[in-house]
């Protein structure tokens, strides 16, 4: 009756699909491994720069004597490194692996992809060096100077070619929702980057048109690049671990197309109150509120898939990270929609509240989902298990507690800051002093997150260099599993 069901119980089919997965993972080992491994290096560097920038906000003399480490360079370097060095690098690796798995096709040209990984990392290295030596383009989210862009775009061309090849070699029939998301993301990101870099840096358009293009790009980098990769990964890993199909294909499809349709308009809500035609801003406010449609749809789809299986987050690191991330996605999107309402935007705009919101999306959602994905992918790529459940626990709790604290402190400080900034009588210095305790607490919370990243990096390196024979047993949060359900 159900072909999928029959396949699951036919020992020959099971053995065949295992063989196939083995071939896929072997072919992906080098390129995906390099993308993921190097992303962890950028994660650490990005965290270090984040802490430096955070300290400078309450202690301006910190590292101020070296021009390479002034706030105006460290802060954009942090943003670009975590966006292009960490999230994008990990995202490409994770996306390629999931795409290859779902297309039932091994990566064919893993040499060109390994070259792509090398180019991508060179692009990040050159770009970071460019920002720190003072060559930033001064366009937010696009600070990497022009001489870094060719590396990134050529590298991405290889990634796009391979992803088209994978889709072409897929068996006929149903296309799973993660394939939609990842394939779309692999095309959206390079077109966004190419267009924005061209119109803002290479051949700048007239000044009044630049901010809309800038925010069109910056917001879409989150919504049409990190979000689809993160959602694609969550859609793949949740059913994979709990062993249950996705609740509804229709909801998946509505979620995908409404995201694609509404997200591209969202960026202009960064310009509320700016000198732009009212309709442009209003269209963006409407599209931002319409984001409730994809977000509620995806949340319902995930929830009904998970329901009855939440207990498994006690054991499976992957599932716990991914579920944490998926919940943050819902929260971040709801919050983002409300922040686009003109009256509320008047309070939160230009405050630390916005920074907290950006981290809820980029960290709470994307980063946590990527952590979960890496915990799932690496044992299959390397055919080794994670070496220490202690380190995974440290990683999760440092990042989760650190991030929640980060979010609460900065949002609270941001609201107070926003209310005071709307009082004409309050002197500016008084508002700066008001935010001080929250900025200091942010440094503490950020350091805790970085501790988690260090545990993760140690865990990763240990896994790569260890020669211990594989136990064949997954490394879970807890030693005792209630039933022999292999969940990671």
């Amino acid at each position: 009756m159900n072909p999928e069901k029959d396949q699951q119980h036919d020992p020959e089919a099971i053995e065949k699909s295992r063989q196939q997965r083995l071939e896929i993972d072997l072919a992906a080992r080098w390129p995906v491994g390099i993308f993921i491994g190097s992303s962890i290096f950028w994660l650490l560097l990005g965290s270090a720069l984040a802490i430096a920038a955070s300290i400078k906000l309450h202690d301006p003399a910190f590292l101020a004597e070296n021009p390479w480490l002034t706030f105006g360079r460290v802060r954009p370097a942090h943003l670009n490194i975590v966006a292009y060095g960490w999230l994008s690098t990990a995202g490409i690796g994770i996306g390629l692996w999931i795409l290859s798995r779902l297309c039932r096709a091994p990566i064919r040209d893993n040499r060109s992809l390994t070259l792509a990984a090398a180019l991508w990392n060179m692009g990040n290295a050159v770009g970071t060096w460019g920002i720190l030596r003072g060559d930033s383009t001064a366009v937010e989210w696009l600070e990497y100077p022009t001489y870094a862009a060719p590396f990134l775009l050529v590298s991405f061309a290889f990634v796009m070619l391979e992803s088209v090849g994978l889709i072409r070699r897929r068996p006929p029939g149903h296309i799973y929702i993660s394939q939609w998301y990842i394939m779309a993301a692999f095309f959206w990101f390079p077109s966004l980057y190419f267009t924005a870099h061209g119109l803002l840096v290479l051949a700048p358009v007239q000044a009044p048109a630049q901010p809309p293009i800038n925010w069109w790009f910056a917001h879409n980098a989150l919504g049409l690049w990190f979000t689809p990769i993160g959602l694609g990964a969550a859609y793949y890993l949740i059913p994979k671990i709990i062993g249950r199909p996705i609740h509804s294909y229709y909801l998946s499809v509505i979620g995908f197309w409404s995201l694609a349709f509404f997200y591209a308009w969202n960026g202009m809500h960064h310009l509320i109150g700016g000198p732009f035609p009212a309709w442009l801003i209003t269209a963006s406010v409407v599209a931002s509120i319409m984001m409730f449609i994809p977000v509620i749809t995806v949340a319902i789809n995930h929830h009904f898939t998970m329901v009855g299986h939440f207990k498994k987050t006690i054991y499976s690191p992957t599932l716990r990270f991914v579920v944490f991330g998926a919940m943050c996605y819902t929260l971040a999107s709801f919050q983002g929609s409300t922040m686009a309402i003109r009256s509320l935007n008047g309070i939160t705009h230009f405050t630390h509240y916005t920074i907290a919101h950006a981290h809820l999306g980029a960290y709470g959602f994307a980063t946590m989902v990527f952590f979960g994905s890496i915990y799932y992918i690496m044992p299959r790529l390397l055919e080794r298990e994670w070496p220490s459940r202690f380190l995974i626990r440290i990683h999760f709790w440092s990042c989760a507690i650190g991030f929640i604290a980060y979010f609460i402190f900065l949002s609270w400080g941001g609201i107070l800051q926003g209310i005071e900034m709307n009082q004409k009588e309050t002197p500016f210095l008084e508002i700066v002093a008001l935010t001080m305790p929250y900025l200091k607490l942010r440094t503490v919370a950020g350091s805790l997150m970085t501790l988690g990243h260090l545990a993760f990096a140690v865990s990763f390196c240990w896994m790569i260099i260890s020669h211990r024979a594989s136990t064949g047993e997954p490394t879970l949060f807890s030693k005792r599993i209630p039933n022999p359900d292999p969940i990671s």
Binding site: E4, Q7, Q8, I14, S17, R18, L22, E23, D25, L26, A27, H174, Y176, I177, S178, Y235, Y236, P239, K240, I241, P245, I246, H247, S248, Y249, Y250, L251, I272, G273, G274, P275, F276, P277, A278, W279, T282, A283, V285, V286, I289, M290, F292, I293, I296, T297, I300, P379, R380, E383, K424, E425, P427, L429, A469, S470, T471, G472, P474, P486, S488
Partner: protein
Amino acid sequence: MKPGNEPGEDFDTRKVHGAIIREKSEPSEKFRAAPWWLKHGIYAPLAMWGIWYLIVASGGFRWDEYSEGYFRTFVPETTEETTPAPVSNDPKALIAEGETVYTAVCAACHQATGTGLPGAFPPLAGSDWVNGTEEKIILPVLHGLVGEIVVNGETWNGAMPAQGATLDDRKVAAVLSYIRSSWGNSAPPVTPESVTTLREKFKDHAPWTAADLEAALAE
């Protein structure tokens, strides 16, 4: 790169490939319809609100209708020519006008409450310059002021840019009248006529220094 045991390998294949063997089959999707309450309770109301807001808050989709007029379609359009309000030399009107100029031009450095910024910009509130003769503040506004100055016994060393090119005589008089009557200051207002006179007398003068200014005023 063939999977499985190669001849001569002695490790346990099932252990090495443990992760792949134990994982569940690739995910699939059920085909359940979207629930009715999602369609009628969430999608439809959101879409209706979106269309309504697009219509009322888009300033008629004109390119020259900016954020301030985004609710314009609710306001009946007036076709009659609005005659400009008569220019009065009433000090109250002048001071009210001056507040707008102050917020736009001066507040960035001297701050909204005229306190200035310690070490960078001298205060206007309670300043001996502001409450002194009107010439001593009209001229720096018109042509700028550079170098060391002493305000309330404290020495400052900065540069105030000239505003004479961007502010007309009435605006200079307005903003100075506002400053001289706000934040505890209580000097008489400045009239546009005295600004006109000084502008003529020191036409296109370079930025003043404190010594320059004293010399010119002593004449």
